[in-house]
């Protein structure tokens, strides 16, 4: 009898397939908004939800989803306020989630072994009813992530502009947070709560080594997520280790390969991508008739590699999108 004929493995593989699709799907939006660690925080909070289920004897999947949606909403509200203390508030929430979870599980008389199946995933414990919940939730996440793609993209790309197109930005931000919470619950049985964030972020990071558009990053990340999940579950069965660990290790291995290939490709194309922080000109005074370039350590010359522009009686050098011109012993912004 091969492993594919085992019922629990079939269930695990279906759950893995859906997790591999939905985690990178929502992860793409989180990474674009630079909230890569949000999934991690929700995962921590969901531990309390699982413990609550074990303590009260109700299904841990249901209590986990309720608590993680509440937690994700709280995270989003704290973030939207933009207060300096928001960072600390989130940390308190995350640690409270873990500590509360361990405490409640202890009270429920369950050992570390039960907790472990939720923290790092478990192949044998995906029940038939768990599977129905996972399928339903994953489909809902995918419908929203794809159907509302243009709106969510705009909100994550440039929130201020999105507001001026009349989009309900706060509502969409909340949708993203709730979807992340739902995905955490979907992924709980396969990768586990502590590693779910890796499955949201690593495939996206891998995909962008070779992609240029948002759409192709989204699709590639989902393909990588599915491959990592399915291969990880099979490896987990053969090696008898927690599936969360094998899935994430495989995903990371994929990242290393993609990063190497991506670097080589870019080098071959002869144009390494500029770093995102190479253009810090927002809020910097625009060129006035005579603006001295502050602390300009680089002396432009015929051979310095900056593009040269003839400008009346002198030559300007294109430097990070603006022009520098020699003026006595310093450089002017032109």
């Amino acid at each position: 009898m091969t492993m594919f004929q085992l019922e629990f493995m079939q269930r695990a593989l279906i759950a893995g397939l859906l997790t591999g699709l939905s985690a990178p799907a929502i992860g793409t939006y989180l990474v674009q908004r630079r909230l890569s660690l949000m999934g991690d925080g929700i995962g921590h909070i969901a531990i309390t939800g699982v413990a609550l289920g074990l303590l009260t004897g109700s299904a841990p999947v249901l209590t986990a989803i309720i608590v993680s949606i509440a937690g994700a909403t709280a995270i989003e509200l704290v973030r939207a306020r933009g207060k300096a203390t928001g960072d600390v508030a989130l940390a308190l929430l995350f640690y409270g989630g873990i500590a509360g979870g361990v405490l409640l599980i202890g009270l429920a008389g369950q050992g570390a072994a039960t907790l472990n199946t939720y923290l790092f995933g478990s192949l044998t414990t995906v029940s038939q009813s768990d599977l129905y919940v996972v399928v339903g939730l994953a489909v809902a996440v995918l419908v929203v992530a794809i159907g509302l793609g243009p709106q969510l993209f705009a909100v994550c790309q440039d929130e201020e502009f999105a507001r001026t197109t009349g989009l309900r930005v706060q509502l969409l931000n909340l949708v993203i947070a709730v979807m992340a919470a739902v995905t955490v619950t979907v992924a709980m049985r396969t990768v586990g709560l502590l590693l779910v964030s890796a499955l949201m972020v690593v495939p996206v990071a891998t995909a962008q080594q070779v992609t240029r558009s948002f759409r192709s990053t989204f699709i590639t990340a989902c393909v990588i997520g599915v491959l990592a999940c399915l291969a990880g579950i099979v490896t987990s069965y053969n090696a008898n280790v927690a599936p969360g660990a094998t899935i994430v290790v495989l995903a990371l291995a994929g990242f290393v390969v993609a990063a190497t290939v991506g670097t080589l490709l870019r080098r071959r194309a002869g144009r390494a991508r500029p770093l995102a922080d190479e253009e810090p000109e927002v809020g910097v005074p625009a060129p006035e008739p005579h603006v001295v370039s502050a602390g300009h350590p680089h002396a432009h010359s015929q051979a310095c590699g900056h593009k040269k522009v003839e400008h009346g009686d002198h030559v300007d050098y294109v430097h990070d999108g603006h022009l520098h011109a020699a003026h006595g012993d310093h450089w002017d912004e032109h």
């Binding site: 440039d158 240029r212 558009s213 060129p287 294109v318 999108g321």
Partner: protein, 252 residues
Amino acid sequence: MRFENDSARAVQVDDLSVDLGGRLVLRGIDLRIRQGEVVAVLGTNGSGKSTLIKTVVGLLPAARGEVRLFGTPVPRFRDWRRVGYVPQRITAAGGVPATVYEVVSSGLLSKRRMFAPLGAAGKQAIEEALEVVDMADRRKDAVAELSGGQQQRVLIARALVSDPELLILDEPTAGVDLASQQIFADAVRERVARGTTVVMVSHDLGPMDALIDRSVVMRRGRVVYDGPPHASQTHAHVHHSHTDDDPGWLTS
């Protein structure tokens, strides 16, 4: 006068004060912009001109007074397809790459329903907007890989793609190379010819100078000049001499 009714006013600002973190950045601004006008808001850094623009498009709340767009107070304004906003440059490119085409297509969201695919008319509008800013051949490139001037051109295409009646530009020429400034000015000129109202905030107008038919100079949160453009320039830039036929201010 023909423009006296509210709906003919693209922008109406009444006794507007804006508070940013406890500091009064705008103090009692009154401003009326008729449809079809091309207005430059000038002033030094910290004069409040960007704050004014952000309040007009509803990104900042008014502490006192109100802003009306096409006769409707901004908090209740829903007809955002009539407004095109060009912010100061992509504040920071997102964590995931996005192409020129993708960024420009997000300008159509004021016209798109949720869960609806992009129609043929939308695709056509994107193509036209890309042509106008001369970025059609870069449509598949990641925005983060473009120069500052090219990124700024992408942002104006994103605002133009929805065919707005009111175009609001925040520092369109800041840190932008001359070639891009020229393309920018041409794109705005073409809109002006079609009757679009334009409000732009700037330190220096560059090639757009010739388009302006009114300028508003701000200092310390107040309007200190509102009138024909040339007089205002000498007010704002007394330290800088140029002749009347000088097309831009930056060419010296």
